[in-house]
Amino acid sequence: MLNVLNVDLYPSLFLIMLAISLLISVIFLHPKVPLSFVRIHVGFMAIPPLVALVALIFHHERIMVGPWYFSSLSWLLAFFVLTIGCIVQRFCVRYLQGDSAYRKYFALLTVTTTAASATWVSNDFRLLLACWGATLLGLTLLIGLKREWVVARNAAKICGRLFAISWGVLLFAIVWIAQATNHWQLSDALTPTSLAQLDSWEKTCINLLLIVAVVIPAAQWPSHRWLLDSVVAPTPISAVMHAGIVNAGGIILTLFAPLFQGSMAQMILLIFSSISVLIGTGIMLVQVDYKRQLVGSTIAQMSFMLIQCALGAYSAAIMHAVLHGMFKATLFLQSGSVIHRHESGFYTKISLSFSTIVTGSIVGVLAGIGFWLSSPGETYQLVSAFIVGWSVSIAWVQLVAFGLGKMGHVVGFGVLVVGAIVYFFIHHLLYGVLHETVQVNMQPPVLAAIVLILILLGAFLIGAWLTHNRLSKYYAIVYLWLVRLGEPKENVIESHPYYLQSQGGKVR
């Protein structure tokens, strides 16, 4: 059986497969290779994630192979990124049919996702930087691949500039660590003994640098511009970007957790990310473009991931990153289905009665308390319990209370229960994978969690007040600021896609 195989086999097999898939994508670039070769290419793209999956299931030991480091965490991340890459490439086979840069899309997508997965199995700092740099470069090129379109070029420039800053800052932080600890291996540099060589001011500075490096790819305010402007990219490119790349911040912080934990920087990150949660959600609420709503949502979700990191819940952050990736990839890929014909015509809206509010609240509070009691020691659990309770309350009202007829209530309740069971099952599964690799030694003060909950509650209340006073000046100001924060810049808008006008000219 698979688990009897020599454990060293998986890493080598995995790396070989990655190399082959890169090679195949380069072959496909050649104009003489027939277009039907794309099927072979995409078929092969499924192999590396499968290897990672098998390794994730059967190969629990941590192992170092040259500059690479394989653990459950890195297998999980590699599997996730490559799976998203594979799905997106399969989507592109038909979706981009006829595009003049057809072959380049596949090559660049392969480079981007392969590099991203290689980043998370790197142990050597230099390799990690190189792979991460390649990922960012690949993404920038993908955004600007429609070169004939001026707004795509401009958006790629904006992204490239911000990515370069982020990468440069990361480079600086890493060189600093390596110089101070005399280790270029992640596993050596981040041991308590190595870290002891750093002064506390050095630690603080490096942590601040790390924060700058991670908030840019996570599109946090005030560096959220690039994600908004990159809506010009074709849908599958947005899917891979929102699913597989933006969450790098959470992963980097998880890798550097031994350094990052217990520092003041955590609190700074918490504050900045809380602002971004509010801005991202606000953009989602006021925007009317579907893709732009999704961008707002991604900003908020990534802020939440960083908040989880700031609260020391690294496993939760990784889980959130992975599940959000699945969620957002799907929403982007099916963004053509948003216009539904007559679907709402069948839905009977039921007004919220007092008793529904009361039962909904009670169910929510009970669920929240129950959730908290399952693991009361952790700071983050408090936040988690608050959100779970809140969500259960809404789900109860929508699914159970608003059902029509007996059957409606029963089915709604069934959906709620099944949803909860699957949620817990998945969490249990992922936690099992992650708890060994991601270690948390220090819990941040409970006060941080309480402050966060108060911020969320406060935002909710302010939002509720504003929506009830739509005609007030304050609503207008808040509304317009959120619109402004979510709108693209002038140089990435074109009232008509003029490049199409002259594109046919190539024939002659």
Binding site: V288, F346, T348, P497
Partner: protein
């Protein structure tokens, strides 16, 4: 025009609000209403300006909006390469043009120059020295008088031309933002306030707080009057637009974003409360322009540079095509130089493209004539009594299917407009929505609802509610702050399952999903509300009165010229399309039914035809439907080329026999129709040879951008007996409408076909035409970079005009190659000459379309003589 003069005119002609409204109304003829994408209706973008000729409109659009509406060189070149443009026709068209012009030059010089220009045969390959041309242009500039064009551009456009400052895009960006926020239908949770008080007021209340504008402009905007008309007038006065120029000034502004402006126009036609919304739109736009441009006023006058540039191009074209070195100009007499410049000026790109297009159209007409006449002598013998008769929509996709069906057995087919002449609004069982199921040209007059007993309906509604409540719960969780953070963790695993399935087994996933949904919903057998029921004053009456039933049945049968020799089984076929994840799904449905399947209309008509009381009354008028004849309804699924039964009542013995015969041949018909159609769709090589599976995949694959070709390549509308085209392979390019002139002595049927179905077809044709020749302006751009906005339409990339026509992928084979051939619709009428003359006489609007080049006409008389009327 000098400022003082403008002021004088202003004082002289104090315009008041009444005629400003009129001016807005006249100006808005340059755009067409744009409804939401769910009701995708084929609209022809120049419907309001058909009183101008095609060439006039082309020139106007080129100068105001830089939009070219003749096919460009590359499209023409590839048509030429495929042999679709005959050289003899090109020469003929050139000769016709030359005959209509006069130049003070020897005719062989003129002909030689024009021919070389038209064929783009470069005489000298070497690069022309730029400085030399410029010098020569300066020499000649004072001799040559260029007729000044009456073109009005907006101030922001003018400013951009003068100093490159891109105020137009800033202004457009602002308008896009305000329009989408205002027009939003249910996408945003926090909506723009004051929307019920009109666009202008809502904007005015917000603009003063808008952080996107600097404080000077905000201050400027905070003093605007409450009334939109007043504000528009003030801004026009401020910009010093003279009374005579207002209309074209408003036109230029409407043409800047024709999609958003068109949506406003559509809104203005929907309710009386918003009837002034186009004026409000213009008020917002021009007030904002005024505020932005104020610091730049007065604008400097454009210099002579443009004239020199024009002259340079004229000199260059003589050097290229006339084999005339630049120095030679000095040796010419001023008179000849002038004549030569005038020739190059008049024989410009627009004329050249026009001649090319006309030659292409002429070639097509010639080929069509050959195809039809080649089969004409064949003895067309209809089985005296066909086993079954089918009425199909005129849609071009019906043609190949009909051909295969006729080949497969003793079946007769008819073509008629897919709404079957029923002016109805339809409403599905349990749904609160209703759909106007008729061409956008007409207004619905009767509502037909599906109904069933309360015992069936209630559980059905509950089942629907359960399905809906899951997606509503998803939305609620998504738009609520703390819960939105948890939603990905709850729904992620489910969504990825769906994504995996849709990605790797697209065909079965779609099927399984549809089956499960159908099984769960178990839609009960629904009846149609055909009998008139009282409705409230404001609503449409539900159902038909007896007279109406008879009227519509008679009209439908007469239109399809099926009034005798009824088969035991008559199948009324609507058509619809199945595609996944496609915002343009409704563009593939029936264009005559407002972008929905015409199955509903088919059911209504078939049911009406089976009513004994209707048949009895028809008998009195000579339309005798035999007792054994049964009408059934079916839907032609164009993505799959399958017929699906929608309504099959109890069949008589003979009808049953026919029904079984059809069932037997249908699989083969589908197979052959698919075999003809599927290879035309681009694939990435080595696609499965099982066309049926491929067709299914195309409909179910969520990543498919071309689920079918729709009506691409449509080119002609043939009105005549089926015998005329029976054995012709028309390659899915023809709308076919049955017509027997012998049964129409007074001409009302022909008049009806021309004013209804032919107009629908013309609109569809010009929409495809426009989306191909100006894909960025009249098309809706690349599907891969679209974003759905405000729940009503799509934009490109980050933000753009609300795009109207068809996407790039619907008319293009690939980025490099067009699929649709942009030809103006050729209407062919099989009738004696005097019938055509009478029709033209009675329908001046149609005559105007022909004279101005918006449609083309040919006829075939009783002897089979072909006559071109264009």
């Amino acid at each position: 025009m000098t400022t003082t003069l403008v002021k004088e005119i202003n004082i002289e002609k104090r315009f008041n609000s009444v005629n400003l409204n009129e001016l807005v109304e006249t100006a808005s003829k340059v755009i067409v209403p744009l409804g939401p994408l769910t009701k995708f209706a084929a609209r022809h973008p120049w419907a309001g300006i058909e009183q101008q000729s095609f060439e006039q409109v082309a020139r106007k659009l080129k100068s105001t909006s830089n939009v070219e509406i003749y096919p460009d060189d590359s499209i023409l070149q590839s048509a030429w390469n495929r042999g679709e443009i005959g050289q003899e026709f090109l020469e003929m068209k050139l000769q016709q043009w030359l005959d209509s012009q006069s130049f003070e030059l020897p005719s062989e010089v003129v002909t030689q120059f024009c021919q070389a220009t038209l064929m783009q045969e470069k005489k000298s390959i070497k690069q022309l020295p730029k400085t030399e041309i410029k010098g020569m242009a300066r020499e000649l500039v004072n001799d040559f008088h260029i007729p000044t064009k009456q073109v009005l551009q907006t101030y922001s456009q003018r400013l951009q031309r003068i100093n490159g400052e891109n105020l137009t895009e800033v202004l457009n960006g602002q308008l896009i933002k305000w329009c989408k926020l205002f027009l939003d239908e249910a996408q945003a949770v926090w909506a723009m306030p004051n929307r019920d008080k009109g666009f202008y007021y809502a904007w005015k209340e917000m603009a003063k707080y808008d952080p996107a504008m600097n404080h000077l402009i905000r201050r400027e905007l905070s003093h605007l009057p409450n009334d939109a008309t007043q504000a528009l007038m003030d801004a026009l006065l401020g910009l010093e637009i003279s009374y005579l120029e207002i209309e074209s000034y408003l036109e230029a502004h409407l043409l800047a974003l024709p999609g958003w402006a068109g949506t406003m126009l559509w809104r203005s036609q929907q309710s009386t409360e918003q009837k002034n919304i186009v004026m409000e739109y213009l008020a917002v736009r021009i007030c904002l322009e005024y505020a932005l441009i104020k610091p730049h006023l007065p604008l400097p006058q454009p210099k002579q540079e443009e004239k020199i540039e024009l002259l340079e191009s004229l000199i260059a074209s003589w050097a290229h095509w006339g084999d005339m070195p630049i120095k030679e100009w000095l040796e010419l007499s001023p008179k000849e130089a002038k004549a030569r410049l005038a020739l190059a000026y008049r024989f410009d790109q627009t004329v050249q493209h026009r001649l090319w297009l006309e030659a292409w159209e002429q070639t097509f007409e010639d080929q069509l004539q050959n195809i039809i006449s080649s089969t004409r002598n064949r003895v067309v013998e209809f089985p005296k009594s066909a086993l079954a008769q089918f009425a199909f929509c005129i849609d071009v996709r019906s043609e190949p299917f009909r051909r295969q069906l006729e080949d497969a057995g003793p079946f007769e087919t008819f073509g008629t407009a897919g709404f079957f002449g029923l002016p109805i609004e339809t409403s599905e069982l349990g749904s609160k929505h209703s759909h106007p199921s008729l061409p956008v040209l007409f207004k619905p007059q009767i509502k037909v609802k599906e109904w069933s007993s309360e015992n069936d309906l209630k559980p059905y509604k509950q089942r629907h509610q359960t399905v809906g409540s899951i997606s509503y719960a998803f939305k609620r969780l998504k738009y609520n702050l703390p819960s939105s953070l948890l939603l990905p963790e709850i729904s992620g695993p489910w969504l990825i399952l769906q994504t995996m399935a849709r990605s790797f087994v697209p065909r079965s996933t779609g099927d399984v999903y549809r089956k499960i949904r159908g099984k769960w919903l178990r839609k009960p057998q629904a009846q149609l509300s055909l009998d008139r029921a009282q409705a409230s004053e404001s609503e449409l009456p539900i159902g038909f009165t007896l007279e109406e039933k008879v009227h519509y049945v008679r009209q439908a049968l007469k239109m399809m010229s099926l009034t005798e020799n009824f088969s035991p089984l008559v199948v009324i076929c609507g058509h619809g399309s199945h595609s996944t994840n496609n915002p343009y799904a409704s563009a593939l449905d029936c264009g005559a039914c407002g972008g929905a399947s015409s199955g509903f209309n088919a059911r209504v008509l078939a049911t009406l035809c089976n009513l004994p009381v209707v048949r009895k009354l028809l008998e009195l008028e000579g339309i005798i439907i035999p007792k054994e004849t049964v009408f059934v309804a079916a839907e032609h699924i164009t993505t799959l080329d399958e017929l699906q039964w929608l309504y099959v009542p109890k069949l008589t013995a003979k009808a049953k026999e026919a029904f079984e015969a059809i069932q037997k041949v249908l699989p083969k018909v589908s197979e052959q129709a698919n075999a003809e159609r599927i290879p035309k769709l681009p694939g990435v090589g080595a696609c499965s040879h099982n066309h049926k599976n491929e067709a299914k995949r195309l409909g179910n694959d969520w990543s498919e951008v071309r689920p079918e070709w729709g009506l691409a390549r449509n080119a002609t509308f043939i009105i005549g007996n089926r015998a005329l085209t029976q054995y012709c392979n028309l390659d899915a390019r023809a709308f076919l409408h049955n017509y027997d002139w012998k049964k129409d002595p007074n001409g009302p049927i022909l008049a009806n076909i021309i004013s209804g179905p032919a107009t629908v077809a013309q609109w569809i044709n010009l929409q495809y035409y426009a989306s191909t020749v100006a894909p960025h302006y009249y098309g809706s751009g690349n599907k891969t970079t679209q974003t759905v906005t405000a729940g009503i339409g799509v934009m490109q990339g980050n933000a753009s005009d609300l795009l109207s026509g068809l996407p790039w992928q619907s008319v293009m084979q690939s980025d490099e190659e067009a699929y649709h051939a942009p030809l103006r619709l050729l209407v062919v009428i099989e009738a004696p000459r005097k019938y055509v003359l009478r029709m033209l006489d009675q329908n001046p609007a149609f005559l105007q379309k022909i004279q101005n080049g918006w449609i083309r006409l040919a006829s075939i008389d009783q002897e089979g003589n072909w006559e071109s009327w264009s």
